[in-house]
């Protein structure tokens, strides 16, 4: 018996029957003796429709009005789920962001939660009412509606769990948990039972789309145990059927590598014949930052003639045309510079806390890829992650080979 925060995403509340299914899961937790707060997203498709309305009026819009429009989707689901719970005899009420209130900064469209006034909310939950909280939304100190950006309901849920000092935050989604690799590519991939915050954070940031990166950061900071599980399978209340994201101290058997991720959202840009003088990188990256283009992997090398440098980096594939436009303008100031680009790349990453204490983990990656004849174009590393850029055609081969090489295959 404890206090749980359950979060249900858009596909979990896409229709009235889906909402009824969610109500059944909540009812099961109540029957298990738990106090429950629920955080809901908008019905799948609704947010896209609302965004499309805004865009139809104007491409450049006042983010405050955008937020007022888009936040309405979660308002609907929170009321509907409260009704579905009441039908089951469970006292429940909806809470909008402004009713809690969940206070955010004023960066409309991608606001950050600053404070949750949990007193009234907690009293309501402890009295036995299920609180059904509209995710994704908050309110500024001057009373305007904000939204937290795509996937923001995950962050709402973790923040509510932290504020209520909940025993666990269960993120219900359309997959059964976090996998050692994408099951659509690696049939032998396994659901991970426990993973550390640090690993989850790296995974979220390199292609595992199961949790919003910021929600993992917040869970790590506030030490909120998070479980990722499917809203479409297995009864609630069964013994942790999903993946538990926790402090690494709670993970007894540490794998060297916990998971392999891949991302096809990258494009590679190489600038050749850059003058090897201070300030060149700034000349390239400042205008890209101004254009809100997020540059990821960066490597710089002396060119073969040792007079100039070559600079390679990746950008989101969708931003490649804009990137090339910006660089064309830059090239006027850097005569001789040659721009090469390719959208034909994939980023493969291995992630694991065990890397810290094991040597040769990266080498095994390079050797495995080399044995399959896969050419590595760029390498970046962090303390618990190695990422490589390879030709996109080799994505599946690379992921499968690495999955086997690190002993992650089911049954291995």
């Amino acid at each position: 018996m404890g206090l749980l925060v359950l979060k249900f995403g858009g596909t979990s509340v896409a229709t009235i029957p889906a909402i009824e299914n969610v109500a059944n899961k909540v009812a099961a937790e109540i029957k298990n003796g738990h106090k429950v707060a629920v955080v809901v997203s908008a019905m799948a498709g609704v947010t896209n429709q609302l965004v499309a309305y805004c865009s139809e009026i104007s491409q450049i819009f006042d983010q405050r009005e955008y937020d007022a429009v888009v936040a309405s989707g979660e308002q609907v689901t929170s009321g509907l789920l409260a009704l579905a719970l009441q039908k089951r005899g469970i006292p429940a009420r909806s809470w909008m962001g402004w009713q809690v209130p969940i206070t955010t900064d004023k960066v409309h469209g991608k606001a950050r939660i600053q404070a949750i006034d949990s007193k009234t909310l907690k009293e309501s939950v402890m009295s036995g009412d299920v609180a059904v909280i509209a995710g994704f939304q908050g309110i500024t100190t001057d009373g305007r509606i904000t939204t937290l950006g795509r996937g923001g309901s995950d962050t709402s849920a973790v923040a509510v769990a932290a504020a209520l000092k909940a025993d666990r935050c269960d993120i219900y989604t359309d997959v059964q948990g976090v996998y050692t690799a994408d099951p659509r590519i690696v049939s032998h991939s396994r659901k991970i039972d426990k993973i550390s915050y640090e690993e989850m954070l790296e995974m979220a940031s390199v292609g595992a789309k199961v949790l919003q990166t910021r929600s993992v950061e917040l869970a790590m900071k506030e030490r909120v145990p998070v479980q990722v599980l499917s809203s479409f399978e297995s009864a609630a209340g069964s013994d942790l059927p999903g993946t538990l994201v926790v402090d690494e101290d709670n993970i007894v058997e540490q794998e060297v590598v916990s998971g392999i991720t891949h991302s096809r959202d990258e494009a590679k840009v190489t600038l050749r014949h850059l003058p090897d003088v201070p300030g060149v990188a700034a000349k390239v990256f400042s205008p890209l930052a101004d254009a809100a283009i997020n540059v990821d992997m960066i490597v710089q090398n002396l060119s073969p003639d040792h007079k100039n440098t070559d600079l390679t980096f990746t950008v989101p594939r969708a931003d490649l045309p804009k990137t090339l436009e910006v660089l064309k303008a830059v090239s006027k100031e850097l005569p001789g510079m040659r721009i090469e680009s390719s959208a034909d790349v994939a980023k493969i990453s291995i992630i694991g806390i065990g890397m810290r204490s094991h040597v040769g983990v990266a080498q095994k990656m390079f050797r495995t890829l080399a044995e399959k004849g896969i050419n590595i174009q760029v390498i970046t590393t962090s303390e618990i992650k190695v990422s490589v850029l390879i030709p996109e055609a080799y994505t599946e081969l690379a992921v499968r080979s690495l999955h086997t090489a690190y002993g992650l295959d089911d049954g291995s």
Copy 2:
């Protein structure tokens, strides 16, 4: 130059192009030098969809959650119209009921406005911002969302106009104003230029569906000049193209009869052989009131044998089956009672302030109908209205004949 409140209903904001059209009308008023507050309904169809979601979950729902769900529709339109105005270079912001705040009582689903804290709103409007207010919604003193019932946005607009001490409240709708009779029935009907609050109130309550009855009551109480006009024709800013609802003192040439209305939403019930003793009417009408059935016209007569009474009354046609069910239960306590009913009736009303000072107005109605061979089943009167119940088949004939008889035909 003054302060105007403009209200746009669901069909006026049904699509993004429709919202752009509304923005043009608002822009025209701004160009005329007016300060403007706008009240908007939900996009046509949206409220019905939201109500359907609630009903799909449960027929008996917590009105507080119903209100949270249903109020979201107006939130969307207020944000979208603010965006469309901004695109035209007009500073604008959306206001939800809770942001103003518009405080209501706690009768969720059909709440009444108790107070509008207009200070901040008025400051914003007087500074030149267009306030785009979500209609139909308010907030209780304990912070829950309420809605005002169907057509409630009219009432929102009039209440905002009263709170802001606006010079006029323009209700944009899909008709050009209030007509002497339904133009679909009487081709010679005329748009009324000015009508008194009292007449409008009677017309709204007997079938002219152009304004919510409560909004007229409020306008009359607060002396808010209201104009009804079309959002699809005539440029805003032209000289009062619609119907102006004002104090009768402002109407110079008073017609004896201002308009003829008809309603096919009635059904007639006759109870025969009721014992002629005190308390019988209560035995009949109390259970109907308990079943939330709104009884309208009532007449009681001694039966031919002078021992019993006959009781005739009308109920909304949609409620006839429920009415008969209730009466069947009642009949067990009133042995001998016979129930007759007919849905085949229409209520025709003549309305006019001039009736007060003219004699023979009702007689002319009865004579006109008699000349056409139309049998009158029930008559009720008020100070400025006479209503008769007739066989439904004669509806058009009755309305046209009366329209001619009272000199209302265009060109007459």
